[in-house]
Amino acid sequence: MSERSIQWFRFTAPANFYDLAGRLIPWFAALTIALFAVGLYLGLVVAPPDYQQGDSYRIMYIHVPTAWMGMFLYVLMAVYAAIGLIWRIKMAEIMAKAIAPTGALMTFFALWTGALWGRPTWGVYWVWDARLTSMLILLFLYLGYMALHAAIDDRQRASNASAVLAMVGVVNVPIIYFSVQWWNTLHQGASITVTDAPTMATIMFVTLLIMTLAAWMYSIAVVLARARIEVLERERKATWVRERLETES
């Protein structure tokens, strides 16, 4: 047990993280490509059209995974930020910062695909549906986090301040979600909710699962790659960076 925890602790050291991430990224990248290839083939070619929505429902295969990713990455970012702030672990700070752009991108995809799915389904690009509205506010939270991080010159202060913001944000996300839902039910006239297909065909479910995994693998690969760059920037004066420079192209 104790040996194991020492092992884990080793990866919080920047040099070890850098090496480990460098070895892992190709694997995650390969998995991303393979899963996307299978998922896209199943989703766009094999899966039959929906009996009500026709082929437009195929947007679901990217809409749902990116929406999940967007929400989950925000929580993960806040967790890393909290770990970095409380236990002063530099790698956790770097991970929190590295997650933000990918999380914002995923949230944006969820909104974009939601709008394009909404046009054929609801007749309009945008409805103030509870879920869409919450996602929009989530995107604003991401943008605020990144803007605050970018506005503070001192790295350590930037990490700590934006960590506070991420934690405040993560406490607020459920409150925002429920208040938006509440607001939405009060204004029933304008709201149209997505009718969840009661019986989702197995092929659709499997495809959705594969696409979700693909989104996961992509996010992990990109976040690790970004974290590696951040580590190099922060540790540019350390000797291990110079050692790595000589071996890498």
Binding site: I137, F140, L141, L143, G144, A147, L148, A151, I152, Q156, R157, N160, A161, V164, L165, M167, V168, G169, V171, N172, I175, I176, S179, V180, W182, W183, L186
Partner: protein, 222 residues
């Protein structure tokens, strides 16, 4: 301990009374923004009435947000804030006191001036009473959440614009509940649920935000 907090409150209020233009600017902003809406939308009384809760709340929210920059900036510039880190009282209570003073200077005037603007937008008496009550419960939440943003942007260039991006998304729940309460009365429904949630939110903010604000002040002064 309460004596020193009271002294801090008195000091902040005295400073604000010496420079009343700061508080008046916020009220002026509120009045001007609300008065601009009919010019953009059109003078139809019924339509304006139906928009009034949202317009008044959004304007109040923007007015509070604009005033946030001043919450800590003066004390930050002259070093008072740094001194506050050294006193024995918990920093959370100190920032809470400062936030309360800030609300008395900016939030309360908004509540008091709101009936005048509500009349402009053709609200009835019972709706105006509800509006004032909702603002009375809601503007402290705005000040409390805003204090986090004010602390996080201490000493940054373009801090004012940044506060908007950080804080406005967090203002969504009080906006929905506050405007919803007036809306409910307008449609003959009970606003009790809105008000209880708004009250719960205020209590929660009262206990939770001073910690975050104090942490942010410490980080930015580090």
């Amino acid at each position: 301990m309460f004596r020193s907090l009271f002294a801090l409150l008195r000091r902040d209020l005295t400073l604000a009374l010496r420079r009343p233009q700061d508080a008046l600017t916020v009220v002026g902003f509120f009045v001007v923004v609300v008065s601009l809406f009919p010019l953009g939308i059109g003078p139809d009384p019924e339509f304006l009435r139906s928009l009034a809760p949202g317009v008044l709340w959004v304007a109040a929210l923007l007015a509070v947000m604009l005033s946030l920059e001043r919450l800590f900036s003066d004390d930050y510039r002259d070093g008072t804030l740094e001194q506050m880190l050294l006193v024995p009282e918990p920093l959370g209570l100190l920032v809470l006191t400062k936030t309360f003073a800030h609300w008395l200077i900016t939030g309360l005037p908004l509540v008091l001036i709101s009936p005048l603007l509500a009349v402009q937008l053709n609200l009835r008496v019972d709706e105006i009473v509800m509006l004032m009550f909702a603002l009375l419960l809601g503007t402290p939440i705005l000040s409390l959440i805003g204090s986090i943003g004010a602390a996080l942007t201490l000493g940054l260039r373009g801090g004012g614009v940044l506060i908007a991006l950080l804080i406005l998304p967090l203002y969504v729940p009080p906006l929905i509940l506050g405007a919803g309460a007036v809306d409910a009365v307008m449609h003959g429904a009970s606003a009790q649920a809105h008000l209880s949630l708004l009250g719960a939110m205020m209590v929660f903010a009262l206990f939770a935000t001073p910690w975050a604000t104090a942490a942010a002040v410490r980080i930015m002064l580090d």
